[in-house]
Amino acid sequence: MKRYLVLFSASLIMGIISADAAQSCTTKPHVYLIVTIVSLLFICVFISIFILKSRQLMFVLLGLAIFYAAGAFKYIHVDNAIVRKFECLDGAQVLVRGRVYSRPEFKGEFVRYEIAVEEIMPTGNQDMSSSNDRGIASAGNRDSTGMGIGYNAETNDRHDTSSSSNYTAGSKSGSKPGADGGKMLLNVYGHDLLLDYGTRVNVSGVLSVPKTRRNPGSLDYKKYLASFGISATMYAKRSNVEIENPGPSSPIAGILARIGGKMRERIQDAIVSSLPENQAVILAAMLTGCRDNVPDDMEENFNDSGLIHILTVSGMHVGFIILPFAFIFKKLGLRKQVANPVIILILFLYILVTGPQAPVLRAAIMASTVLVGQMIRREADTLTSISLALIVLLLWRPHMLFNAGFQLSFMATGSIVLFGRNTKNLLKSRRIPGYISDALATILPAQAGILPLTAVHFNKLPVISVFANLLAAPVSGAIIILGMAMAVLGQVSIHLSRLIGYVNNLLLSYLLFVSEATAKMPFSVFRVTTPSILLIIIYYFILWFLLWFKPTYKVRVKWQYHAIAVILVISLAIIAGMIPGELEVVFLDVGEGDCAFIKTPSGKTLLIDGGGKKGSDPGSADSMGNRTIIPFLLEYGITRLDAVVATHAHDDHLNGIIPVLEQIKVEMFIMPGYVIGDEFDRALNACARRKINVIPVREGDSMLLGKDVRIEILNPPAGAKNGELSLNNSSIVLILKYRDVEILFTGDIEGEIEARLARSILHDTRADVLKVPHHGSDTSSTPVFLEKVHPKVAVVSVGNNNYGHPSAEVMDRLAGTGTKIFRTDLNGAVILGSNGKRIRIKVMCKDRQG
């Protein structure tokens, strides 16, 4: 192995991963890191000097240590220093001064910009005004009433105390005012504010730091934004954005980016005016990488058919940009030393058109390596160029490592480079026509390489993708070439562009047809649970062995050995599956709402409520069920639920259940045996369609969930008459008993039912864990009830709301009895594990502990 850069890039990745692990495990990642890095360096030097006695090896080991350290250091120290500055001001009313650093992006009713923050001043709180008697402060205060869009009300009260004290501490030390450096995502209400790249703006609003992962399987929004270099978000009204005019001269990058923006607009204009709407939108996306205008269902089709990479600007585009220029310059007789820097410049101008997305950056860096190689008369090595691109991008923005697009791009290219030739050789011996085996030699390794990634990130396996790509591959290149010709000629005459458009329209229509037809085909996409790390490693090892190691070194393996390997892996999986589990209960963070998931030691699964936003459509892609509950279930490896319980029919309990009933295999649907009106209709319809048993329950019912686990229903009362109970009070109350451990789920019951339960002699309502009734409302958790239940642990399932949940009085009452309180709004998901005697509790978000 003499591709040292490949080793170094691997070391860099390890550095970032370990830094990330250190950060989530300890509160002092710095200490941990310095210790590891120093010891690593020491070990490296020691090994190479005293044991191996090789100077070259010493340099290699040193290089490994340096790249490891660089990745970790950049991740923890540099990037997080910026993040921490923003965190101090989380939820505070601030005035941000900065530059627009992106093109306008239309998201729903908002326009979205990245703002490169230059200065940031807190303005909202009275006690702070003394600390910033600068001129700008008054300008900000003027708008302090204008924060009433309502999104941030909750973050405000939650973080007020901490942010103000932190800030004053910061200003005392005499440092710069607030955070500088870093980027902020600005959402401006309405579509009428269009800002040029580089425009300097003053925005006032409530700063909010994105949330980390709240539930297993859901998106880590903080990390996601960090992969774009963004550390904070803000919502603002049009009137709160003030354009500084005339803006001071912007740096060259700003001017270039503005040119890029103008070019993109002109390209889009030319294309939109020479093609039908759908085709134009797709072509514009293919050329500029801007997918805002692509309708959701169309994008979904491309996703499901595994063709989404066609809408991503990447290597193919870069190639098509370079080739014509290289040809022209050669004809002009320019030397490579003159021509190639110009081409590289053009390439990066193109990136300004598309925006700095990982695939195009990767391709541009790889292409630049080749071009520089031509200048200094050295030959580039593809694998090394990929590593170089990886190193450059990760040193620039280490958080990119966790971005799905980044991973897919590198994995696909890497797989093609590593496995492409061997795949081709394998296919050659089969009787497949040449052009098909050529296409397959890139499609197969790319798809094989990204398979685990799509399973991890999207819980999907687009099995149709090889077929779809085979159909789409011949046209995608032609479409881009014709599209580029249209974009260029369209600047001269729109008629020329239209003329080419006639041809391109055919190709684009074909592409659209392929994506739609393959996506809609039965069994085109499989929904899969998130594979474990071990499984992924085994998969990649097998892939590497079969497609690289074996053919490269011409290793012959007897089929018996293959059989043994297969049996070994399968038996390992079976053994792993047979290890008895323990009781696991997860209280998900579904905002203001309830959701709990139960897995018994024998593997029975139960979902109690599903959260959901009041009045929202449960079927939409953004709904609680689709965004949070189903990804959570798939992350936990659940494709089948033994029972789904809806405690009552309020949106914040029932809404998220609907997609589960519609999409996941459910054995039975348990609902209260006391129905007021038609509130359960949608759920019942879904059950009827999917042939799910509906079981209405009342007090006295009980159910065994495998061995040792028993569920008893305590409410609604057996003898309740029509009109007697409110919806909240009709909630199912159930107690889960596993050996010595009891967990009480209470839905939204209020005082009167609590009193009834406390008086009840039929049931023992004592429990170790209490799901606090009604999100901690003061209508519930009466002293008599708490005294009866006497929980050791209380879980409050609560989020942003206007009802004052959880009530401070209730919290005090619980704390007063010595109960340990967990809150989903502070802790994220609360995860309980029990062996029947002891209970262990984990929370998703450590840093937000109350």
Partner: protein
């Protein structure tokens, strides 16, 4: 001190170069150790058809032409134009593998040093390529080698002193008799003062008939060069044997 820093910087740059563009054997693309100077792996170096006795070329060349028509004083060929060398040179000249020049120059220098005292040469000159040809190819294969050879041996490269004034057809596509006419009067010396009384090492990639080298030597000698010694990477022994 300053020299030391420059040397260190050069070494670091070299390492970075090799890191980003890992050196590979020009014959089998095997990755090489960084300290490997030749860019040829140990397996392939054994397969290179090196030429032991160089006098054969001059003799056979003179055999075909009149004695006074031979203008160079000597000719040195590193290896035979066959097998892996032939394949590599074809890739080098026609398939854009420009990076091979280092290996060829190093190999040639290594062999040449063994038989010739390099101090006796004042300059290295490569057989010029016509502008049009260089444009389509993107590089002048002989110039790359001569420059590198000059760098290795410490002799200045003065290839600009020799120019091609007439576009000629590719020699290898022509018959033997046509080749002679093809290259006749195709070259000129741009600055005779600099050539006057100098000892010159003339570099080309492949030797087949020797007409090109002879023609170049002729103009150099006529411009007053004291000695012209030709050196090529590979010689087509097969062609020469036919003479």
């Amino acid at each position: 001190m300053q020299e030391g820093i420059i040397k260190l910087a050069a070494r670091i740059i070299d390492y970075i170069n090799k890191l980003v563009f890992p050196p590979k054997c020009i014959f089998c693309s095997e990755l090489l150790e960084y300290k490997e100077k030749l860019e040829i792996c140990t397996k392939c170096i054994g397969k290179v058809p090196l030429i032991k006795d160089n006098s054969v070329f001059l003799k056979s060349f003179m055999h075909g032409v009149d004695a006074e028509a031979v203008w160079f004083d000597g000719i040195f060929c590193t290896c035979e134009y066959k097998g892996i060398v032939k394949e590599a040179i074809i890739r080098y000249k026609y398939f854009g593998k420009y990076s091979y020049y280092r290996a060829f120059a190093n190999l040639t220098a290594q062999r040449l040093k063994a038989v010739k005292n390099m101090d006796e040469f004042d300059m290295v000159i490569s057989v010029p390529l016509h502008k049009r040809k260089e444009r389509t190819r993107g590089y002048n294969q002989s110039l790359l080698i001569s420059r590198e050879l000059g760098k290795i041996t410490g002799i200045p490269d003065k290839s600009r002193l020799l120019a091609r004034i007439r576009h000629t057809d590719t020699q290898s596509l022509l018959h033997r008799n046509e080749r002679y006419i093809n290259v006749k009067d195709a070259f000129t010396v741009t600055d005779e003062n600099e050539v006057e009384g100098k000892s010159i090492l003339l570099v080309d990639d492949v030797l087949t008939t020797g007409y090109t080298l002879n023609e170049c030597s002729k103009v150099l000698k006529k411009a007053g060069a004291r000695q012209v010694y030709a050196v090529v990477v590979a010689a087509a022994l097969h062609d020469i044997a036919q003479l």
